[in-house]
């Protein structure tokens, strides 16, 4: 029934950002590598080609670039007492699919964490004392520091072609950059993009209040770019179709534009699409993995793919599920607090204030995925957790990423949702609105975790991932604080109409409105097998030839979009594999 294919040195599960990075770096070692991708192949042309790609209904509304929930989804509950129900269609987050993974449909917003976010528990203990940490908050220290990761953040930014203005080069604050960012060894590889009117208005207002505005960094090219692999990007034209879309003009940082064509030239690398990995197979002694079993869509059969090294490079949710399905690490138990696999599921919290200016023109369809101005004056390193009564931080920004009218039609609250007044309202207000929002951290908690759903199964009969998550008072307090700060800036801009959209203290997690696809944790790093599912090199503590990449490694979520840390950790881990593991396979920590 099941086919067994010839053994490979390395099998990679998932061909998104980290699968591509791992594949490229290990292919340079001459290893025989196979990557298995459950979704379809995707190339700039034809799959993302203009003009067909920029169809708001198909991509924005119907999620054609995403994993089909029919193939696999998650179940959600807010606490241990609820019955989790499946996310039958995407809402709160959108799981990617296919070659390039989420690196195809992201906006490109790329940040590094702040140094203190990596050693958060120690930082709090040393500054305010551990007693300010709520009893159910399970934050910790990453078993790797910002300083150790800096060269790997830098490497990822140069591979991915990130634009931006440095705020701190080797400890020296740079004019025009983010003065709150961690030190960087050099400037961004590309200068920042220009910014639309909303960004300038926000920057002026923020500066007038003593804040430190800067242009958002990210993976939308501002010039032509060539990276170390010879891969190329062309300058972004602000088409206004970034997130949920593949970039038709080679301007967005993605595995396709920065790694894959170079990787595909390597004779020792190959990949399969329509190959959904079902589980990792273990040696009889349970100490190592022997390969993976996947479902070959084309052949309609299960295939055992033997390999010396297994790299789980799927999205966070699927990585956790594969670990649980395969018995890697001890499943986390939220009651006893024992176990690690599935622990510390994290997310992010957002809110925004909308401003309407009747006589001003914003041309909202002019946008890029990263377009906007940010301030980090309320970020982790700036906040006095002891005085504020919450642990966390956020950057505040005015973005303008798209004016696609089905989803981006903000109207004053007193406008009816339909009828003649709605019709006149859309003409009156489209193009006369801007917003300021925050993008905030979410800490880890004892009751927020991932495990296997007892009821709902995928088409292969495997349990779906169950997520238990809700808003915690700590984050809701931070959210209220940020609302106050944002509204203060917004009021100073004297809009004709101003309205806010923030969670209140009664808000429960709602799967319907899109928020962010920044799901983290579950395969967390730890300095010991008791505190993490993987060690500081993303190596499974109990199966030394299994490595697990991605945001699942986040001990707690940061205040930023996760890709910069995900990319940095991937280069950090693969460097350890190249330097140490290949020479001497065994536990690296």
């Amino acid at each position: 029934m099941a086919r067994t294919d010839a053994k490979k040195d390395v099998v990679i599960v998932g061909l998104g950002w980290t699968g591509a990075i791992m594949g490229m770096e290990l292919a340079q070692e001459g290893l025989e590598i196979l990557a298995l991708e459950r979704g379809p192949n995707r190339e700039t042309v034809p799959e993302m080609r203009y003009p067909n790609m920029i169809d708001e209904l198909s991509q924005g509304e119907r999620h054609n670039m995403m994993l089909r929930p029919a193939q696999s989804t998650v179940t959600i509950r807010r606490n241990l007492n609820e019955t989790a129900l499946p996310m039958r269609k995407w809402g709160s987050f959108l799981l990617g699919n296919g070659v390039g993974g989420s690196g195809v449909h992201w906006n490109g917003q790329n940040w590094r964490p702040q140094p203190i976010e990596m050693q958060l528990r120690s930082h709090i203990r040393d500054t305010w004392g551990e007693e300010i940490i709520p009893e159910d908050m399970t934050i910790g220290d990453y078993p790797v520091t910002y300083d150790e990761l800096e060269p790997y953040f830098d490497r990822f930014e140069r591979v991915a072609g990130i634009t931006g203005a440095a705020g701190n080069i080797n400890g020296e604050v740079q004019e025009g950059g983010n003065p709150f960012e961690g030190w960087r060894s050099g400037d961004y590889p590309m200068p920042p993009l220009p910014v639309t009117y909303n960004g300038i208005k926000f920057a002026e207002a923020a500066r007038a209040m003593g804040y430190h505005p800067f242009l958002r960094p990210g993976g939308n090219a501002s010039t032509s770019y060539v990276n170390e692999y010879g891969m190329q990007m062309g300058a972004c034209n602000f088409c206004g179709f970034c997130e949920r879309y593949g970039c038709y003009q080679y301007s967005k940082s993605s595995p396709q534009t920065t790694i894959l064509a170079a990787l595909f030239r390597k004779p020792n690398f190959s990949y399969r699409t329509g190959a959904e990995v079902l589980r990792v197979e273990m040696a009889a002694d349970g100490q190592t993995a022997t390969g993976v079993t996947y479902f070959d869509e084309e052949a309609g059969e299960e295939v055992f793919q033997p390999a010396d090294i297994v790299i789980l490079a799927a999205y966070q949710i699927e990585n956790v599920r594969l670990m649980l399905l395969s018995g890697i690490g001890t499943p986390y138990d939220p009651v006893s607090g024992q176990g690690v696999t599935g622990k510390n599921y994290g997310y992010q919290i957002t809110g925004s204030t909308s401003m309407f200016f009747r006589d001003e023109h914003f041309n909202p369809f002019i946008g890029s995925g990263i377009n906007g101005v940010c301030i980090d004056d309320f970020g982790m390193s700036a906040n006095d957790f002891g005085a504020l009564g919450f642990i966390g931080g956020a950057y505040i920004s005015s973005a303008q990423t798209n004016g696609q009218p089905i989803r981006s039609m903000p109207l004053p609250q007193d406008t009816p949702a339909w009828g003649a007044e709605w019709k006149s309202g859309i003409a009156e207000w489209y193009g006369h609105q801007m917003s300021i929002g925050h993008h905030g951290s979410v800490m880890s908690y004892r009751g927020h975790y991932c495990d296997l759903d007892p009821t709902y199964r995928d088409r292969h009969g495997r349990p779906l991932m169950r997520i238990t998550f809700d808003w915690h008072p700590n984050e809701l307090r931070m959210n209220a604080y940020l609302k106050e700060k944002i509204e203060e800036i917004a009021r100073s801009m004297q809009p004709d109409v101003m309205q806010s959209s923030y969670k209140d203290y009664n808000s429960r997690y709602d799967v319907r409105p899109y928020q962010t696809t920044h799901n983290t944790g579950g395969t967390i790093m730890g300095a010991t097998p008791e505190t993490g599912a993987v060690n500081r090199y993303l190596q499974a503590w109990d199966k030394h030839n299994v490595f697990v990449t991605g945001a699942g490694a986040f001990v707690q979520n940061t205040q930023y979009n996760p890709t910069g840390l995900v990319g940095g950790l991937a280069y950090w881990a693969v460097d350890a594999i190249r330097r140490q593991y290949l020479r001497n396979p065994g536990p690296l920590a």
Partner: protein, 452 residues
Amino acid sequence: MIFLRILAAFVLMGIMALVAIIWLPVSRSPLSESVPADWTASPGEGEYVMRAGDCMACHTAENGPDFAGGRAIESPLGTIYTANITPDPETGIGSWTLPQFRAAMIDGLRPDGAHLYPAMPYENYRMLTERDIRALYSYFMDEVEPVNSPVPEPELPLPFNQRWGIRVLNWAILSHDNGFDGTMGDPVLDRGQYLVEGPGHCAACHSPRTVYMGQDGIAAGEPDFLTGGFIAGQEAPPLRGQGSRIRHWPIQELTTFLATGRNFESTANGEMGLVVDHSLQHLTDDDIIAIARFLRAADRLQHEAPEEAVATGPLSIPYAQANAEGADTARMLTGAQPDMPLGARLYLDNCAQCHFVTGRGSPGIFPALQGNSLVTSSEIAPLVSIILQGARVEGTEKRPMPLVMQGYKDRLDDAEIAELASFLRQAWGNAAEPVTEAEVAEIRQSGEAIGH
């Protein structure tokens, strides 16, 4: 016109031939250098000569096995099919001896004494060294997989199907000695000269043709050498002399173009795309630099070597601002006024995303349309075909990403494409004749006929 001129030439040659063919035996050229009998090529040497000679582009059919021939070569005179040059004894060249192989390469002769059609650039390969010929022979005999695959007979009308006529032609075009002697006075420039004149057979496309269909300028020093020609309905732009755009390229842009098929303002499309894909990208950096230096020296330009043939990333290259010639067009497009001409509107709606209002593209990735010979050529088919069907620049070792433009045949009708193409040919200081709807229709139909 051209057809009649060629026909007249053939008739004239035919009369001469009637006399000459009877009296003069077929001859093979003498050795141009002595090579020890026990000389053998070093590993990879023969394959490298094959790459330098770009044998694969012509001798491999679309989606066909390597070197099994069968690619149709169309000319106004009819269609011929390239030979199977795999070592298959029945349908390929497996039974050929080295002298027979050599005669094909430099004298255009088959083992049976019949003449090869001059689509085979033996006029240029005639300059191959004896060592390279032997290395190439070993490569085809020992390293290429035999493929049993017969090739169709040529589809040529009288008198062009008479191979003996070629014999007369060859008296005209094979008057130069075989073998190579560098004339540049510098070993690197001589190496570049050899690659360009001999295996690279650049003159086959980039030199004009004489009325006898020979290349008008096959070697440095001849006045029309590489001053521009036509191939496959595409203009092969001048590589030297008046009107040569590459004269103005920094030398590293030239080497980058040769090695990767793309540079700060141009991409290699059509036949040149094949040359980069099958040949140039496989050459060493030293050889690419030697070619570039020779081309510049042959045009009496400075020819210092660049630091590297292709710059290594990371590189951030700002896009070009509108220049003086392009300023008016760029300003009009930037204005985005609803009353702009239709061609300009179509440009904004379809092209400006990548080629920008400046018409200068994004360096290294999207080519400039301003001053682009493919846009302004008297041959409009390449431009119109690219608008209809799109284009693809293959990835190369140093720039691995394929650059693909989607086609617009479903989005634009013939009248719109005529408006758009005419706009491109007259924008940013371009000054070429407009394109008509009927011409677009003809190109669209010929494209559909071959399955696009």
